[in-house]
């Protein structure tokens, strides 16, 4: 990937292999994520793209039998080094999942504040500000500002997913990982989230896993194609979709398999 000199490097994997017990789900993936870009990860089901994403904030090791070899460098520091606390690390990397996962016992406000409060007590005014900022970033503020203390379950599916984005960005992470964030949403909800990706890359470095090739083409600057746990090809999205270098990539993006 041609990361030009003026783009500060944020995230990089070096020969990253993710295993479940003795089976590798991701094999030797090396990839660069330049700061303030959106990188889409595409590939057929079971190609390891979600597992790969979960290695980037050390969630993979929480799965039954999950472990990793290789490196993940965040600002040139290996996040798998023994002196890195995975809990502290996850506060620097936000994650949004396939299905909306608002905390059902918490209000809209408390959901957004959840990630802030885990970092220690803060003055109320500071939390108020951060919650409003996060909800504005997630384009949800106008819809919920009059009912911040209502249950998060009163929101529609699309709103719940934007709430989860607000919750993820409230602690001001450096990286935002999106794991098929629109998989359970209708077209209108999907469009909102895609617009958000464009907005949010000003502030964060985004990695998005998607099943939807059009979505990858619409939202991302770079696209990585995974197949059978391997990185087949990665490049500028416009290049990868118009002149793929590897035959498998071409077959996949033209719909001949996967």
């Amino acid at each position: 990937m041609a990361a030009s000199a003026n783009v500060r490097l944020r995230l990089e994997t070096v020969r990253l292999t993710a295993l479940f017990d003795r089976n590798a789900a991701v094999r030797e993936v090396s990839i660069l994520f330049p700061a303030h870009t959106v990188t889409a990860i595409i590939g057929p089901s079971g190609c390891g793209k979600s597992t790969f994403l979960r290695c980037l904030n050390r969630m993979h090791e929480l799965s039954e039998g999950g472990w990793v070899t290789g490196k993940v460098l965040l600002d040139e520091v290996d996040i798998y080094a023994s002196d890195v606390n995975p809990i502290q690390l996850r506060r620097r990397i936000g994650m949004v999942f396939q299905r909306p996962t608002p905390f059902p016992t918490m209000s809209i406000y408390d959901n957004v504040a959840a990630g802030l409060r885990v970092n220690g007590r803060r003055p109320r005014s500071e939390v108020d500000e951060a919650v409003e900022r996060a909800l504005r970033q997630a384009a949800l503020w106008d819809e919920v500002k009059d009912r911040l203390h209502a249950s998060a379950l009163e929101l529609s599916g699309g709103q719940q997913q934007r709430l989860c984005i607000a919750r993820a960005v409230a602690p001001e992470p450096e990286i935002l990982l999106l794991d098929e964030p629109t998989a359970s949403l209708d077209p209108a909800g999907t469009q909102r989230i895609e617009e958000l990706c464009h907005e949010l890359k000003r502030l964060y470095t985004i990695v998005i896993v998607t099943h939807n090739l059009q979505q990858a083409a619409r939202v991302s600057d770079y696209t990585a194609f995974f197949y059978m746990g391997r990185l087949i090809e990665v490049g500028r999205t416009s290049d990868l979709f118009t002149k793929p270098q590897v035959e498998q990539t071409e077959q996949y993006i033209t719909g001949r398999f996967g």
Binding site: M59, L62, T101, F103, P104, T105, A114, G115, P171
Partner: protein
């Protein structure tokens, strides 16, 4: 209508009737018990019944105030001991109980769940009555707590397991430590179910007699000292119900009605807690 349609309708009607009759039979037992208790006990219940202690045998009047207070103290104390241990064990089983230790705890809880309550009474007697040389309410509470712990541990575990894995992951991805995820997100989401389990557990032990026979023993006088014998409704029913006096039988019926009402109220509160849970967690 074709012959087949007619046959289907008849079959459907017969089966519906059968199922309804069976359901009614299941409920009938409760209705009969309640009806019997009301018929034989309700007339004896007045203000004095709740406020006065028993009078000497042969005299009329008196109440079961000492038994009601005693039930409250003994069951309350049992809950105080049993709930934290039971809920803690349940959380452990659900969140960390996949290994060998979890398997053992689960197995022991299941065995304890199936142990006759009188055996647990003897156990409490061996350890808390015999060494001290005195029957005590405290020993009764301990016996009831031992009965309660496995029940509450297992229901808590079930309820916590119902919380979707995705919620756990969402909290961990936010940088929650594991213990905080368990308490702040998982346990809180399962709270309605846990409360229900606790109330059902309390209702179950509130009616226990066997484990109290040689621990709390019973006491015809008013007493709130947990180091001494204390009366409960169940013990009162046992003693009065098998006693020689007509007056005692009358009071036993009424006490049974009061005990039944207490259990019903607890069950109803438990239902409410459950309904709220389904209202909140979809």
């Amino acid at each position: 209508m074709s012959a087949r349609t007619v046959r289907r309708r008849i079959t459907s009607g017969v089966m519906t009737g059968l199922v309804a009759a069976l359901s009614f039979t299941a409920v009938l037992a409760l209705l009969l018990i309640l009806g019997d208790l009301i018929a034989k006990g309700a007339s004896s219940i007045d203000w004095a019944f709740f406020t006065k202690s028993p009078v000497p045998a042969g005299e009329t009047g008196g109440g079961v105030a000492n038994a009601i207070i005693g039930t409250g103290i003994i069951v309350g104390l049992a809950a105080l001991i049993g709930l934290p241990i039971g809920i803690g064990a349940g959380l452990f089983l659900a969140e960390y109980g996949s290994g060998r230790l979890g398997f053992m705890v689960r197995f022991i809880a299941d065995v304890l769940n199936g142990t006759p309550s009188i055996v647990i009474g003897i156990f409490a007697w061996t350890w808390m009555v015999k060494p001290v040389g005195r029957f005590s309410a405290l020993a009764g509470s301990a016996a009831l707590a031992i009965l309660m712990i496995p029940m509450i541990a297992r229901t808590t575990e079930e309820m916590v397991r119902l919380v979707p894995h995705s919620l756990r992951e969402a909290a961990l991805a936010l940088g929650y430590p594991r213990w905080r995820t368990s308490l702040r997100v998982v346990a809180r989401t399962a709270l309605g179910g846990i409360v229900t389990g606790c109330l059902v557990g309390i209702a179950r032990v509130a009616g226990e007699t066997a484990p109290l026979l040689f621990t709390a023993l019973g006491n015809l006088n008013f007493s709130t000292d947990v180091r001494h014998p204390m009366q409960t409704l169940s013990l009162q029913i046992y003693v009065y119900g098998t006693g020689p006096f007509e007056e005692w039988h009358r009071i036993a019926w009424a006490a049974a009605l009061v005990l039944m009402a207490l259990v019903l109220i607890l069950a109803m509160v438990a239902r409410r807690a459950t309904r709220q849970r389904y209202g909140r967690v979809r």
